[in-house]
């Protein structure tokens, strides 16, 4: 089938409309940093399960998939970690170019319950980090994410956490590249990563 000029123009218009829609969605999402911050580089300095301080500089040259959550979260967090685990499996030999990181927004309890056992149950490549209150706030602010402790008499230990559930992609030079909204299928994340590796 040959496309007429008119048909081509229609397709171009449809493409532009999609782009415009994509931009609108990006701008409308409050968790997305303003576009003016093109060179936005999130930073963190947080201990791993062995107490070793890890920073974004440790992973220079790799893509980072960063997720904020807490291990007493049985619904949202396992869903995203499962997707990340699937992506790591499906990347095959490219998996060593990607470092998935889980940053606890409930660090004291997660250290007590065991962060490494939790993250490695999904995938051994996932690195769990749990700092103190100040380190955790600093990391969250740097990623422009929100979390809050909510008192809840019915919850274990009397509280639960609300948090931004998106997955953040950081480039090999530390630049914030994009976020994947909660519920993005593993295959979409994989395709996006493959186009960059």
């Amino acid at each position: 089938m040959r496309l007429t000029t008119f048909q081509k123009a229609l397709w171009a218009a449809a493409g532009l409309a999609c782009l415009a829609y994509g931009t609108w969605v990006l701008v409308a999402d409050p968790a997305t940093p303003p576009r003016a911050e093109a060179a936005f580089r999130p930073v963190f300095s947080l201990p791993d399960a062995e107490g070793r301080i890890r920073t974004e500089a440790d992973f220079a040259g790799k893509h980072l998939l960063v997720f904020f959550g807490f291990t007493s979260c049985p619904d949202v967090c396992p869903t995203t970690l499962s997707e990340v685990a699937q992506v790591m499996d499906d990347l095959g030999p490219d998996a060593d170019k990607v470092q998935p990181i889980f940053i606890s927004v409930d660090p004291a309890r997660d250290r007590r319950l065991g962060l490494a056992a939790y993250t490695s149950a999904f995938h051994p490549a996932i690195l769990g980090l749990a700092g103190d209150e100040v380190q955790t706030r600093a990391a969250a602010e740097s990623f422009h994410i929100y979390f809050e402790r909510q008192d809840d008499a019915a919850a274990p230990d009397g509280y639960t956490m609300s948090h931004s559930p998106a997955l953040y992609l950081i480039g090999p030079d530390g630049d914030w590249l994009r976020q994947f909204a909660y519920g993005t299928p593993a295959s979409d994340i994989l395709n996006d990563l493959r186009s960059r590796l």
Partner: protein, 157 residues
Amino acid sequence: MRTPILAALLSLVGLPALACETFTIGNLMIEHAWSRATIGADRPGVLYVEITNTGSVDDALIGIATPVAGMPMLHETVVMDGVASMPHAMSVPVPAGQTVALAPGGYHGMLMGLTTTLKEGEGFPVTLTFRDAGEVTVPVEVLSMRAEGPDCEHAGQ
């Protein structure tokens, strides 16, 4: 005293592909009851299930109970303004002629105060209480931590 009873219940339902069986009470069809494995019993577990109302009158799921959790509760994950939280749900509507799913990212049973580790491949009973249809006890299949739901199409009978 409770442990032998619990063990008996667990073994009773510890059969494969239970999540693919259908249970009915009145006009309600209960399917795909599953949970994720836990590491120990210190973190809450989860319950997912699908309910189809084949009748012409609305009903609602108003409570859950199970021997594996001291404090089971209905929750709804809500993502609003880019923030996820999970408030309690007083009830889950089961409208006439519709299927509602307790599924990842939405309604779920929050199994707090676990009395045992939920192990992949095992099962446990859960009693669902409906406003009109009453109570029904169904087996829940424990899938892996990475599961996104039971794979019933490939569960050959």
